[in-house]
Symmetry: C2
Subunit: 218 residues, 2 copies
């Protein structure tokens, strides 16, 4: 516990810690990340921090400019929209595949998630709804068996945390997205590929609209 977390172990640890800090809002875009400071803060070596920063740069979460160090990258609304458009393209693919090849257990879990979502919205249980939402997306990708798409989607989500945060805060948002999620579930569980793709597209088009509305600045 008081030991330094060294080398390869520290690398992943630091990367996760920074991702976490970003989610929590402890780090803001543009903020400088000084190697030595991070090394001290996380009880690691500069080398481990350096490699962690390289990883985060590959995920487009931080921006490294030579001789000037790393900073949290700012994501414009326009870029967030483009990211969501890409997500839409890839998730439509996954949903189509999932509708065609999901197992019975997977379809059952989808329906269960749908029921739980309804309940969560009725109860006003934000946290639960958010977790179910995440599980839904995961399950669709998993059922589609698209390992490549999964990796791509992970990358895309990295820089979006901050926007997702702002979006989830909007009052009435769960009530608005619930029917869209249920439509996705019905289509996938009901083995209707084209309807699944349409439902995903409709959902993410709505997210894009929300993004544009949420931040006229930038």
């Amino acid at each position: 516990m008081t030991d330094k977390l060294t080398g390869a172990a520290g690398r992943e640890y630091v990367a996760n810690a920074i991702r976490q800090a970003l989610r929590a809002g402890d780090l803001v875009p543009g903020q400088r990340l000084v190697e030595l400071d991070l090394a001290e803060a996380y009880r690691t070596t500069r080398g481990a921090v350096r490699e962690a920063l390289q990883d985060l740069a590959a995920e487009d979460i931080v921006e490294i400019v030579p001789r000037r160090g790393a900073r949290i990258r700012a994501v414009s609304v326009e870029e967030a929209v483009q990211i969501t458009e890409c997500r839409s393209a890839l998730e439509q693919l996954c949903a189509r595949k999932a509708a065609g090849r999901a197992s019975e257990e997977q379809r059952a879990e989808l329906r269960r998630i749908g029921a739980d979502m309804r309940q969560a919205v009725a109860d006003g249980a934000w946290e639960v709804y958010s977790a179910l939402n995440q599980r839904l997306h995961e399950l669709v990708i998993e059922a589609g068996g698209q390992e490549v798409a999964r990796r791509q989607l992970e990358r895309l989500n990295g820089p979006m945390v901050r926007f997702q945060f702002r979006l989830a805060l909007r009052p009435g948002r769960p009530a608005q997205s619930l029917p869209q999620h249920l439509a996705i579930i019905d289509a996938v569980a009901g083995a209707d590929p084209e309807a699944a793709a349409r439902a995903v597209a409709a959902h993410l088009d709505d997210v894009i609209e929300q993004l544009r509305a949420s931040a006229p600045r930038a």
Copy 2:
């Protein structure tokens, strides 16, 4: 020239050299990449090689296993198919956008490429056709203004070089793909987003079929 190419310069140099070697077939999947050997071969330091390998690993071109070093990653046919499916999803997005917002100059260049392609196939000029093909894809992405999608597509292409090679070798392939490319050009230049997406999908569905046919092994 006899000097060592050191540090950050060497990093990119080595990465490019390896990519190049892979395209040329000098490196085969599974081949080990020993840091010291590469450092000597390219007149660099081990540090530069190490970072280059990290970059290539982020592109899924090499696989690094701790304490055992880096090797060229093998891509199965199934994975190549999935990669192409993702490409299809993203390029459909780009084509749709491009059909809607390309400038007049861009549409003119597209038509010019189409004419040149016809000519190249008639002449049996493989190299020329291949270059035009690449330019076509670039231009569609550029015209669509999808910077995010462009980055994703670049990543996807990394591990595919070896397959593209095998595919382009198939006799009669240009004659087969020409009408598909022309269909894409017509739709984008003619400002018909849905037709553009359909044309891209049709083209890449055919590529997938070729992939499956090209390698029953693995």
